[in-house]
Amino acid sequence: MTALEIRDLDVWFGHAHDRVDAVKGANLSVMQGESFGLVGESGSGKSTILRAITGLAPQWSGTIEVEGQTLSGAKRDRAFFRTVQMVFQDPYASLHPRHTVDQVLSETLHLHGLDNIDKRVAGLLDDVGLGQRFRFRYPHQLSGGQRQRVAIARALAGEPDILLLDEPTSALDVSVQAEVLNLLADLRTKHGLTYLMVSHDLPVIAHMCDQLAVMRNGEIVEVMSSATLRMGNPRHEYSQELLRASVAPQ
């Protein structure tokens, strides 16, 4: 079954002569339980696709289907937020500076209309590998990796089926990156999640995803399996170029 289907997606910002086309005619489909990667350099429109799905980029045309439901405009209903959640790129910007971890998680649970909030908060913290002693801390008392774990816990609070990951590790230290990626991989197995993951890091995508799409200037130039990527024979010349750039000694 298809979890997420995108056809002829155009996303743009601004009006008339100020208009910038961020995504042009994108097509992709993600199967239930699959992990799908979007790669490309900065400004290639990969994050914009995620924002169009969640309604944060209101100007788009084409078709977006989530578990068979067709989306329209920028309004999303409660059922959508219980199906699709997003983890943001920068954990330093995605947590409210005045809310404790406990406030963040219990408010989210409350918004999803769940009961037994105290127990669920404890469960979520265990799920993402944060102990109970982090429960009443403020974001500034946490490290980057810990913050991103809180953000992941928040995304999981409503028990979604699909998780959109917007470069979840690019703001973190290399050593912490691996931890968070492994956590995400474990959570996917445990909860049977579907991932749509954006990254500019080919090795990360090759490690995390079954399928990937390469984007350039708002267009998807190639969709391939990560096995193809690992064997080093993508078809499109831009994909080959990206691959060469990422395996070249730094």
Partner: protein, 303 residues
């Protein structure tokens, strides 16, 4: 629980309950404020002012309203009048002490009305955007365009003289800067990822504004209010001076200056003493505001 362990409990790295986390962050703010000696001077003066207002009947050596024309315009320190007497022979110190009540009353009422109104208008305009923003901000501009005292004068003239109407008039002229400020803050806050994140949890605009935007606006608002307090006291004194605020025989400090004005050359203390009181309290609010800015600034949280 002795003093040391209470301190350790408050500074704990990993708070154990919601209340603990809140108290702990309050205590850390207090510690920051305490290192600022000027702010502590301001705070001390204001605590003294509150103390004076509460215990006015005990502290005042004379009845502030009892007239004694035989000993009118006594200079400082004569005949049992520590700060002298005014043109009707009333003890200036006693009037000053009772006047502290009026000053606090004005300050408290304005501080309740103006920032709340400004916060409401500013955050709604900033978060909603579009036409709501345009309409609310143009109204704010209209209020901002008038000189403050002139607008307050017009309101008092329309509503009638008196301390409540003076407070109302001052509040009506004081809210636009708060609205502008909270709108500007809201504009930067509303596009951040943590607001996007809560929107993705299905939160409505009301919850976002009150639970997520207000807490971030309030610290700068408090700072701005304490800095404005001096101006508010002076505006109230100005209205009193013009005879449109507190009415005689009420011992409002501005009205006392106004009365003393007639004798300022021969009997300088009648106008100077309440003037010094206004000056001291204004200064105290300014010093405290400065310190609060350092203690409350959310941008310092990350360090």
């Amino acid at each position: 629980m002795n003093d040391l362990t209470l301190r350790q409990w408050l500074l704990a790295d990993a708070p154990t309950s919601r209340r603990h986390a809140r108290l702990s962050s309050l205590y850390k703010g207090w510690l920051t404020l305490r290192t600022n000696s000027m702010a502590m001077v301001g705070l001390t003066i204001l605590v003294l002012l509150v103390f004076t207002a509460v215990f006015a009947p005990v502290l005042a050596p004379h009845d502030p309203f009892s007239q004694d024309l035989a000993s009118r315009l006594q200079p400082i320190g004569t005949g049992g009048h520590l700060l002298g007497t005014d043109s009707l022979g009333r003890d200036i110190l006693s009037r000053l002490i009772y006047g502290a009540r009026i000053t606090l009353y004005i300050v408290a009422l304005v501080a309740l009305i103006a920032p709340v109104a400004g916060l409401l208008v500013g955050t709604v305009a900033g978060y909603a955007g579009g036409w709501t923003d345009v309409v609310l901000m143009r109204i704010t501009d209209i209020f901002l365009a008038f000189p403050r005292l002139v607008l307050a004068l017009a309101f008092v003239a329309a509503l009638g003289a008196g301390i409540e109407n003076a407070v109302l008039a001052i509040s009506l002229t004081a809210w636009p800067p708060y609205a502008r400020m909270s709108r500007a803050e809201t504009l930067t806050i509303r596009s951040t990822d943590y607001i996007n994140a809560i929107r993705l949890q299905g939160a409505g605009p009301l919850r976002i504004i009150t639970r997520h935007i207000w807490p971030l606006c309030i610290s700068s608002l408090i700072v701005r209010v304490t800095l404005d307090m001096a101006g508010i006291i002076l505006a109230a004194a100005g209205l009193g001076f013009l005879g449109l605020g507190a009415q005689p025989p009420s011992p409002e400090w501005g009205a006392m200056i106004s009365e003393g004005r007639r004798f300022i050359l021969d009997h300088w203390w009648v106008a100077t003493v309440p003037g010094l009181a206004i000056f001291t309290v204004s200064l105290a609010f300014n010093l405290l505001g400065d310190g609060l800015r350092d203690a409350l600034d959310p941008k310092d949280d990350g360090q």
